[in-house]
Structures are given as structure tokens and as C-alpha cells.
């Protein structure tokens, strides 16, 4: 079973995304901050994909992404300006979901990163 980790500020968004991912057959972990997430990533059953939001401070995010090159990192953000999206890609994000989004978009993005 594929696993996903959600590290988002919004509890409501975390809840919705978790349900959507479970519907798609993912086993989902939720962490509220980067430090505990970092611990989970170091484990044997490391997640295949991590969902992050743009409010996470840039430095630790960049170092986190670079530490785990085999994990797909997908940003979920309401920021839709091309320069903001590019900034996330420069940090090492594999994909970017602009909010609001639906089940089809999530499915399409997971397919683009090779997880569906």
C-alpha cells in the first residue's frame, strides 16, 4: 500500500485531503510540524509522497526535501502567482496543487508524479 504524509497548517484541509487519499487507497500519516515529520521520514516505511503548504518556513523545507530525493513532495497552496509556484519548485517540490482543488485534480497530480 502506498503511503502519504500530510503536514499542513489547516486542520480542515488536512481532514479533506486525508479522506481523499484514503479513497484512493493510500495509507495516511498526519503530522502538525516539520520536526516530527522529519522523524517519520527517516523510518523504514518512509512515505511515498508528502503534502506540504507554503506557510512552512523555506529553509527547513528545502533541507527536508533535499534529504529525501526519492520522496515526492507536493505543495498545496492558495498561492497561484507563477513566481510563488516557481519558488516552491526551486525548493525541490515535485508538483504543486493550487487551492481549491477536487478529487480529480488530486488524482491527476498523483498520476503525474507516478504514484497512480
Amino acid at each position: 500500500m502506498k503511503t502519504a504524509l500530510i503536514v499542513l497548517d489547516s486542520k480542515a484541509m488536512t481532514f479533506i485531503l486525508q479522506k481523499m487519499l484514503e479513497d484512493l487507497g493510500f495509507s495516511v500519516f498526519v503530522r502538525s510540524d516539520l520536526e516530527t515529520a522529519h522523524d517519520l521520514l527517516g523510518q523504514e516505511n518512509s512515505p511515498d509522497v508528502v503534502f506540504l503548504d507554503k506557510t512552512i518556513h523555506e529553509e527547513p523545507t528545502a533541507s527536508l526535501i533535499q534529504t529525501f530525493p526519492n520522496i515526492k513532495f507536493i505543495y498545496v497552496s492558495k498561492e497561484t502567482a507563477p513566481e510563488q509556484i516557481q519558488a516552491a519548485l526551486d525548493l525541490g517540490a515535485t508538483e504543486y496543487i493550487m487551492k481549491p482543488f477536487d478529487h480529480d485534480i488530486l488524482q491527476s497530480k498523483l498520476s503525474l508524479v507516478g504514484l497512480l
Binding site: 504543486y96 477536487d102 480529480d104
Partner: protein, 296 residues
Amino acid sequence: MTPNDFKFIAELLKEKSGFSLTANQIYLLESRLGPILRQNNLISLEDLINSLRLNNVELRDSVIEAVSINNTRFFRNKYVFTAIEGFVKACLEEKPLTKKIKILSAGCASGQEPVSIAILLQEMNLPSDVKIDVYALDMSKQIIARAKQGTYTHYEVQKGLSIQSLLKYFIQQEEAWKLKPEILKNIHYQVHNMMKPLYEKNFDVVLCRNMLSYMTETAQKTAISHIENSLEEGGLLIIGASETLHDNPNFEKIPGQLGCYRFIGTPSMPQKEQNTAWTLIKKPLFKPAVPNRKIP
């Protein structure tokens, strides 16, 4: 909607567009006709049908358009784009003097398919003197007018298109995203009903996906015969994976490629050209698609 009303609309669609509606699509029909009632200030479906019976041509065209619009997304079925990429590469290897690649997307709806093809060809870095022409047809005037603008919603651009391609080929315009002119200029949109012969000829590739399955068998054969007249010998025809060409002898199924057929020519074609096509068949024009191949 009464069974008689349904029958009337189903027959009208069949006659004018070749579309075949089955009795279990009554819900689809009702949901698609709702917006037409509002646009034309009609109170009920009964009013709509009465107007249609009075031969209101404009209203009839709106009904045909509304029922025939299908959902679409960018790079729908990745294997199709892998097949096109392989075919175009093979064509250029086979005929290095090729100066034009001509591709048709029949039933293009709001344009996601032709846009995906144009992006794919752009990403292939073809020689600079090779001209790319993507023709895109749909029988809906409204949807072609929309496709010509090249503007897609926040939701549409997130379906099938990678974020890298979005940034590379689209410009953000308030809430929407507009395709860059250098890609849009390669796509020629036209209103066209596949029951009529195609104006353009000599296509290297024709895509006609998820359209045949909505047509009667007779209409499917008519549409395919028009494609035959416009497809180069040895050219590639791609139909939906669940669709069929009804054992048409002028096409050869390409092994391992869902819905992909090579046009081997019709008996009426000159003998010399037919020989060329048969020579081409002996050797595969492109390698089978690589599974999970990443499309940008």
C-alpha cells in the same frame, strides 16, 4: 420527459449528427437541456420540444451542441501521446526531408487534446524547419469559440498538465490561465460535423477518441470513410480504447498499442501508392509504448 419526446430528440440527433442516444441516457439528456431552456427563456422541456418540432434550426443546433460536449483533460491517456511521439520520430527518420507534421484532433471539445499534442511536439524539439500543424474540429460553435481563446480555468489546468508545463506554456490571467500564442498559433480550430467530408487532407495522424461510441454504426462508418480520405497512407489513426473500426480492411491494428491503427490505403488508391503502404507495414513504424513513460 415523455418517451415520445425522448424518441423525437434521439432521432433528431441521429439524423443531424450521427449521435446515438440510448433510453438509459434520458437523465443525461435532461441535465444537458436545462441550460438551453434558461438561455432561450423556455419554461419547460415541452416548450423546447414544441419549438424543435416547428423546425427552429438555431435551437436544434444548440441541442446538438449541448448533448455532444464531453469532459476532457490534458494528456488524457498518456500512452496515446507516447504513440504520437514515437510515430512522429519514425516519420522523420523514415523521411528526413519531411517539412510538415499534420495532426487532426476530431471532436476536440474545449481543446485539451490539440493543446496537449502541440505541447508534446514542442517538447520534442523537432528540427526548426519542420512546421507543426494541429487541426482541431468540433461540431459545437460555442466550444470552438472557447477553444480558440486558449483560456482554461484553475480547475482545468490542474487536470493532466504538470505544473512545469503550466508555467512554461501558459500565462496567468486573473483567475484563469491562457495558452501562450506560440503554441496556440499551431492549432487551427474549425467547426465541423464528422458526417461531412473533411476540408483538409494529408494528415499524418488523426485522433478520433471517444466520439465513435456515441454514434450509430452507420454514422461511425461515415466518419471513418471521411478520415480515410484525409489520412496519408501509412498514417496513424487513434480511436478510443473501447471503440472499434468494425473490421475495416483499410486499417491495420498496431500490436500492443490500444486504439492505434495504421491506414494501409483503400482499394481505389493507385497501385503504386498501395505498394508503398504495404512496404511500410513490413517494418514497425515505431516501438511499442514504454509503460509509465513520463509526459511533461
